[in-house]
Amino acid sequence: MASIWEYANPKKFIQTTDRLLPWMSVLAAVTLVVGLIWGFFFTPDDFRQGSTVKIIYLHVPAALMAINAWLMMLVASLVWIIRRHHVSALAARAAAPVGAVMTVIALATGAIWGQPMWGTWWAWDPRLTSFLILFLFYLGYMALWAAIENDDTAADLTSVLCLVGSVFALLSRYAVNFWNQGLHQGASLSVAPGERISMVYKLPLYVSMTGFALLFIALVFLRTQTEIRGRRMRALLARERMG
């Protein structure tokens, strides 16, 4: 019975992801192209928002992945703290910049949409504010990784920061709700019966959400591989200098 912990072995991880990576990348590219082109060119304009509604195909998937990237980092940090698998720590490190970029995409597309629709680029709305706070957390996390020389110390400290940061990010999310009632609409997608948006918009949205998720996974695989190889190379160089 193969266990998931087999992939804690860097060699096994690289072997498996090497096999998966081309497929994931092609699949991500195809779903993204299909989802975005379908969404941008083959859906009707909204009767009130006009064509601006189509930015949803970038905005919602990016926001989704921005949050899920942090969740993935949280899980990877927990795995590092509990079982001390290096691949896990490196995967958390690899996911951070991707998540940060997703946060920026969500904020930027939101601003571009908000200008014609709300009449402002930025409002201190709870959702917007908590995304900005999430971005700050990403920045701090990456800066801490970059600042510490010893790999294991850096992994330990950043995982604790990720745990504490998650609690405070959640806390901020609900604190800002209290602080200001927002401009941002509620969830566009919901499993609850009363449908929010029409199927015409929903299907391409699901496709591009899948595309963003696949893109995220492919990028994290690639970046984790790079981290593993980089660490291996440093070990080899150190051994050479010794010899």
Partner: protein, 218 residues
């Protein structure tokens, strides 16, 4: 325990400590704001609660890197770590000492600064109360940040990047208490939330700080 607390406070109050510095910084922030937004008392009164809270937060931040850095440099942190005192206790004591040397003076001086920013008189009590309840959380969270960055050579800037996002919930509720108090509104709910954050961080965060400090002393 007591000896350590007394020692830390003494070090903070005497030469080179952050004791007067934090207050002076707070004063400068309060003096600079009217230059920035104009001397209109009406405008100042509206923004005073927020300015006072942000000023308190920044002057708290100013002295954070001193919590562990000096002990780290001269090696006494290693001695303290090997002492029979649990690391969690050590971290809590450090936070308490930091609060006594920066938070308490801020609370005591806050009505004076509020006067400078022409906060309505009704707001003095809620402001001092919110600061008294909120600054312990600032010290405890700051101690966590200081423990994270203790081994770094240029940790100062990083420390603020790490700690300021963590301060956000405290700031939101603290400033809300002060604002509602100044406008004569009821402020029980944000006060309860603020107290919740403070006691929650006091109860839980020292474990994280101690874990981080152990990693850094490894």
């Amino acid at each position: 325990m007591k000896a350590l607390l007394v020692r830390d406070i003494r070090l903070a109050v005497r030469a080179g400590g952050g004791f007067g510095l934090g207050l002076a910084f707070f004063l400068i922030v309060v003096v600079l704001v009217p230059f920035g937004v104009g001397p209109d008392n009406g405008v100042l009164a509206v923004i005073a609660p927020g300015i006072l809270w942000v000023g308190a937060l920044l002057s708290c931040l100013l002295s954070l890197d001193r919590i562990f850095a000096l002990d780290w440099e001269d090696g006494s942190l290693d001695l303290l770590a090997t002492a029979p005192l649990p690391m969690e206790t050590l971290v809590t004591l450090k936070a308490v000492a930091h609060w006594l040397s920066t938070g308490v003076p801020l609370v005591l001086a806050s009505p004076l600064f509020a006067l400078l920013l022409s906060l309505p008189a009704a707001g003095y009590g809620p402001l001092a109360l919110s600061l008294a309840l909120g600054t312990p959380a600032l010290s405890v969270i700051g101690t966590f940040g200081a423990a994270l960055t203790v081994g770094l050579k240029r940790g100062g800037l990083l420390l603020s990047l790490l700690v300021l996002p963590l301060y956000m919930p405290t700031l939101i509720f603290g400033a809300e208490v002060a604002r509602r108090g100044a406008q004569g509104l009821e402020f029980g709910v944000p006060l309860a939330m603020l107290a919740g954050i403070t006691f929650g961080t006091i109860a839980l965060l020292p474990f994280a700080s101690a874990a981080v400090l152990r990693v850094n002393l490894r």
